[in-house]
């Protein structure tokens, strides 16, 4: 056999197992833990599973008791979600059935329940509102939060602790308490039902979280790195951009996700402060409940669409998040 120390292992070493982790007892414990995690994940995923399934069921299948596990999937929910329809009188319906071939698939789906499409619904527009408002408010609050956190972390600021507490205190009031005054203010300033108004509001709310979270992350970066950069011939801002930001990447990612999730899910303010132009997805899905019978499949389809952007953002940032959400507890 060739000398191990010269040639190295025969196969590439891709994993390592601690010697004390291979006994039967340790393995059993590992398996039990794994089973518990899987069980927990399944329980957690059941509502989402029901939502996905419901989105593809017909109206009859949705309300069937016991619930149908096997069913004929249909896009009825999605068509109902994306369109405005009227119920056709029987005569008109019969007439329309004659020219079935000329109808597109959405019309055909609508006609199956005796309706015809009169135009697109505002669901897509409201989802888009959510994307714009959540996206821009997150960008602004993370950007401002980063600068503020850096200043708080590195410079002697008079009354620093009081200021930090003051920033945190903006989160202490429950949303319902401030909605009425905000509503009156927004109406006065013409911010009611505008994108700008919602972006300002969410930025203000997220900024305190961003400052506090990011300050923690920046505190952990030794200031010697920036000092080295200063001596190497860079200005404060250049050092911040080239040295601090790359090291704060996990913190920035975690803050971004938290901000996006807050702005995306926010319901109370959006319900009170928007009506048509800037209405976001959460209140509009809720109002679907009240329109001529409960369209469960449409609601499920709407919720599904609502879920996707958050999943995308979290997925993109996941490699930073794993370390980020532990708040640097496992640093080195």
């Amino acid at each position: 056999m060739a000398n191990f120390y010269e040639t190295g292992p025969a196969k590439p070493v891709t994993e390592s197992v601690r010697v004390d982790k291979v006994t039967p007892g340790a393995r059993a414990r590992h398996n039990i833990r794994a089973a518990a995690v899987i069980l927990f994940a399944i329980i957690g995923l059941i509502p989402i599973f029901i939502m996905v399934v419901t989105a593809f069921k017909t109206r009859a299948d949705v309300v069937a008791v016991p619930p149908k596990v096997l069913f004929q999937p249909t896009l009825e929910g999605f068509v109902f979600l994306l369109t405005e329809r009227v119920v056709l009188p029987p005569a008109a319906l019969a007439e329309k059935k004659q020219s079935l071939e000329q109808l597109d698939w959405m019309e055909r789906v609508a006609m199956a329940s005796g309706q015809t499409i009169t135009g697109p619904s505002d669901y897509v527009r409201r989802l888009w509102n959510s994307v714009i408002i959540a996206g821009i408010s997150t960008l602004i609050s993370v950007f401002l939060g980063l600068l503020a956190a850096y200043a708080f972390s590195r410079f002697p600021i008079a009354g620093k602790d009081d200021l930090l507490f003051f920033i945190l205190s903006t989160r202490m009031l429950p949303a319902v308490v401030v909605t009425i005054p905000l509503f009156l203010m927004y109406r006065q300033f013409g911010l009611h039902d505008t994108h700008l108004g919602m972006i300002l509001l969410y930025t203000a709310f997220n900024l305190s979280l961003a400052v506090w979270l990011l300050k923690g992350f920046i505190d952990e970066i030794p200031k010697e790195y920036e000092e080295a950069a200063l001596v190497d011939g860079y200005s404060r801002m250049q050092a911040f951009r080239k040295i601090v930001i790359p090291q704060a990447a996990t913190g920035i990612a975690a803050t971004t996700v938290f901000s996006v999730i807050f702005a995306w899910n926010e319901y109370a303010f959006a319900l009170m402060l928007t009506s048509e132009e800037a209405r976001t997805a959460p209140p509009s899905i809720a109002t679907m409940l009240g329109r001529g019978g409960i369209e469960w499949s449409a609601i499920a389809a709407g919720s599904l669409g609502f879920l996707i952007p958050v999943v995308i953002v979290t997925f993109i940032l996941r490699k930073y998040l794993l370390r980020g959400v532990t708040f640097g507890a496992i640093r080195q």
Binding site: E224, A228, L230, V231, D232, Y234, I243
Partner: protein, 352 residues
């Protein structure tokens, strides 16, 4: 390269005087070492020169011109930090390129590549250039940190305990390397250390610092042979200098709590109570010596042996070359090298 001068620099941190009235000048091409115990203000001095800290009073001069208004980037100094401070998100190559890519310098790409290749060669880190800095050993990190300093030609190198985080063997090797590098390139260098051996071996001149004050500035020989105070005398030299309280009486110096006495070695008027310092190598065990004592301990180190000689309630350390066959309990006679005695006031100031 430049000369650097500090004039009457003082710096206070909330309650402590980190530096009080510190003045010294470093000549162009000189290897200058700041030596002192922890908390003496060595690092603060470096940071003031680099403008990472603003002094409360006094001035810093580069080549005779005040540098007080210059930002860290404009001072054009290179610093090696104690914790290395290599940029963790970059490779070794990018770390070395970082100072050259500064918008203040605008070094062309070809020149950057050439200089990094040169430096990597010099420090034997060429094989590490593509690595992330977190994947380096302590010695390798230290080399890269030094490389990042010497890749450009700054006015002065500031080194903050660059060897203190390394194990003894590596420290010795890098010490020699550092000295060689400085001598061949003729760089003005200010090194901070608490290790007297580093100071003695590398420095052209040493400044001894204690609690924010300069105690003595001089060549290693002056510091060792003419310590300005008992503080300097005990800080420099291993084994430590023998410091004994003595009483002057009738032209003799009597060492307290012992039988030992010697003739007054100088014509300078002496106070009645004083401290006598004598380095272990100047305590010579020899047959027929004028003083007698008993061996209380021997510490053989191979090259030399430290022998503890007891006389009365005083113990003197003596240094003998090689390993000796003297045993604990043996009675010996010894002499004190009369020309190399150090006399201090009881408050520690040197008398002669």
């Amino acid at each position: 390269m430049s000369s650097v001068e500090l004039r009457n620099v003082s710096k206070r941190f909330s309650m402590v005087d980190a530096l009080s009235d510190v003045s010294f000048s470093i000549k162009d091409g000189e290897f200058f070492v700041l030596l002192g115990p922890t908390g003496a203000g060595k690092t603060t001095t470096l940071r003031v020169i680099a403008a990472l800290e603003k002094q409360d009073a006094g001035s810093v001069y580069f080549d005779g011109e005040s540098a007080d208004h210059l930002q860290p980037a404009e001072r054009d100094v290179a610093m090696v930090f104690q914790q290395y401070s290599l940029y963790p998100t970059m490779t070794v190559w990018d770390n070395l390129a970082f100072p050259l890519r500064s918008p203040m310098r605008n070094v062309p790409q070809a020149e950057i590549e050439k200089r990094i290749a040169d430096v990597a060669e010099k420090l034997r880190i060429t094989h590490l250039l593509d690595r992330k800095t977190a994947r380096l050993s302590g010695g390798e990190m230290q080399r890269v940190a030094i490389g990042r300093a010497i890749v450009r030609q700054p006015r002065i190198f500031l080194m903050d305990e660059p060897l203190s985080n390394l194990d003894a063997k590596l420290r010795e090797a890098l010490r020699v390397e550092l000295q060689h590098l400085q001598k061949t390139q003729g760089d003005t260098t200010l090194l901070v250390t608490h290790d007297q051996i580093e100071a003695l071996t590398m420095a052209d001149r040493i400044a001894v610092l204690d609690r924010g004050r300069i105690i003595q500035i001089g060549t290693p020989a002056e510091i060792y042979d003419k310590p300005a105070s008992t503080f300097v005398a005990t800080l420099v030299g291993t084994p430590r200098i023998n410091l004994l309280p003595v009483r002057r009486q009738d032209g003799s110096l009597f060492i307290e709590n012992s039988e030992l006495h010697i003739p007054v070695p100088t014509t300078v008027p002496l106070p009645e109570q004083l401290l006598l310092g004598i380095r272990p190598e100047d305590v010579r065990i020899a047959a027929g010596g004028p003083h007698a004592g008993q061996i209380s301990l021997t510490e053989p180190l191979g090259v030399e042996t430290i022998v503890h000689i007891q006389s009365g309630r005083q113990t003197l350390l003596s240094l003998m070359s090689g390993i000796t066959n003297i045993k604990v309990g043996d009675g010996v006679t010894f002499s004190l090298f009369q020309e190399r005695l150090h006399l201090f006031e009881t408050d520690g100031r040197r008398i002669v």
